[in-house]
C-alpha cells in the first residue's frame, strides 16, 4: 500500500518535470523563430518604393541608419544586403533591397534587440518614416 503511494508520487513528479521542460523553446524553435507569424512579420518589416534605382535606395538606407547612430557592418550592392549595429541600444539590423515588378523596389528590414527579435510594428514604422524623408519618396505597404 505504502509503496504504491510512493510510486504514484514519483510518477506525478516525473510528469510535472516533463511538462516543465516541454514548455521551453527548443533550439529548433529558436533557429526558425517558430513563435512569430512570419507572414505578419514580413508585412511589418517591408515597404515598396516607386523607384528602380537600387544604388540610390541603398545609399538612402545607409544614410538613414547613420542618422540613427548605426555603424554599417556589411554592405553589398550586388546582393542588395546591408547589416548594421547600434551598440548603445543593443540593436542589430539587416536590410535587403530587391526589385518588385519592374517599377518598384522592396525594402525589408529586420531587427534584433539584445537576445530578442523585434516583432512590434512601431520601431519598423519609425524606420520607414525616417527612410521616406531620406528618399523623398512615399513608402507603400506591401501585402
Amino acid at each position: 500500500m505504502r509503496s504504491d503511494q510512493d510510486k504514484w508520487q514519483k510518477l506525478m513528479l516525473a510528469l510535472f518535470m516533463v511538462l516543465l521542460v516541454a514548455g521551453c523553446a527548443t533550439t529548433h524553435d529558436r533557429l526558425l523563430d517558430m513563435d512569430t507569424s512570419q507572414v505578419q512579420l514580413r508585412s511589418i518589416q517591408t515597404r515598396a518604393f516607386d523607384t528602380t534605382d537600387k544604388e540610390k535606395t541603398m545609399r538612402a538606407v545607409i544614410a538613414t541608419l547613420q542618422d540613427l547612430d548605426f555603424i554599417i557592418d556589411r554592405a553589398d550592392l550586388t546582393l542588395g544586403v546591408l547589416s548594421a549595429t547600434k551598440a548603445s541600444s543593443m540593436l542589430r539590423v539587416t536590410v535587403t533591397v530587391r526589385p518588385r515588378g519592374d517599377k518598384q523596389l522592396m525594402v525589408r528590414i529586420n531587427a534584433q534587440h539584445g537576445l530578442n527579435p523585434v516583432t512590434e510594428p512601431k520601431p519598423y514604422q519609425n524606420f520607414f518614416a525616417a527612410l521616406e524623408r531620406a528618399m523623398f519618396l512615399e513608402a507603400h505597404q506591401v501585402d
Binding site: A87, A111, N116, P123, F127
Partner: protein, 159 residues
C-alpha cells in the same frame, strides 16, 4: 518572451540633425574612390584595421582595440577597496569602431559628402561590457576631417 525594445527605437531624434552636421563635411571632387582610399589610409595611420568596404555604396568600416584604463577610476576603486572593502569592477579594454560613408550631392555628382561616426564598447576586468556608446566629442570629428582634408589636398566644407 521578454519584449523590451523601446517604442522610440529606430526613430530619428531631434539632435540627429546636429550630430550629422558635426560628423559630415563636403568635398569638391567627383572621385569617390579617392576619398575612400584617403580615409582608409588615414584610419590606418591612427591604428584602425579595416573590417568592411563596399566602394559601390561608399562604405568603409574599421575598428581597433585599445586599453580603457582610467587613472581616476582605478584610484576610486582602490579607495573603496581599502576603506570599505568593496570591490568594484574597473574598465580594462575597449573596441573603437569608425564608419565612413560617402554620398554624392546633387545629380551631377560633382561634390561628395563624407560622414564619419565613431562608437566604442568598453569591457571591464571581469570581461563584461561596461559601456556601449557613440563618441560625440566634436573635436574628434574636427581632427579627423582636418587630416582628411590634408590627405586629399581639398578643403573640407561644412554642410
Amino acid at each position: 518572451m521578454a519584449k523590451n525594445v523601446p517604442e522610440e527605437a529606430l526613430a530619428l531624434k531631434p539632435e540627429s540633425l546636429q550630430q550629422r552636421q558635426v560628423q559630415t563635411r563636403r568635398f569638391e571632387t567627383a572621385d569617390e574612390a579617392r576619398i575612400l582610399a584617403a580615409c582608409a589610409s588615414l584610419l590606418q595611420d591612427i591604428g584602425f584595421s579595416i573590417d568592411e568596404t563596399e566602394i559601390k555604396l561608399g562604405v568603409l568600416t574599421a575598428s581597433k582595440d585599445r586599453s580603457a584604463q582610467d587613472g581616476k577610476q582605478i584610484a576610486a576603486a582602490v579607495v573603496l577597496m581599502v576603506f570599505l572593502g568593496v570591490q568594484i569592477p574597473i574598465d580594462t579594454s575597449q573596441t573603437m569602431t569608425a564608419c565612413v560613408v560617402t554620398r554624392p550631392i546633387g545629380e551631377d555628382r560633382k561634390y561628395y559628402a563624407v560622414r564619419v561616426t565613431f562608437q566604442r564598447v568598453v569591457y571591464d576586468d571581469r570581461g563584461l561590457i561596461s559601456k556601449r556608446e557613440p563618441l560625440t566629442d566634436p573635436r574628434m570629428y574636427q581632427g579627423f576631417f582636418e587630416k582628411l582634408s590634408k590627405a586629399l589636398f581639398l578643403e573640407a566644407h561644412e554642410i
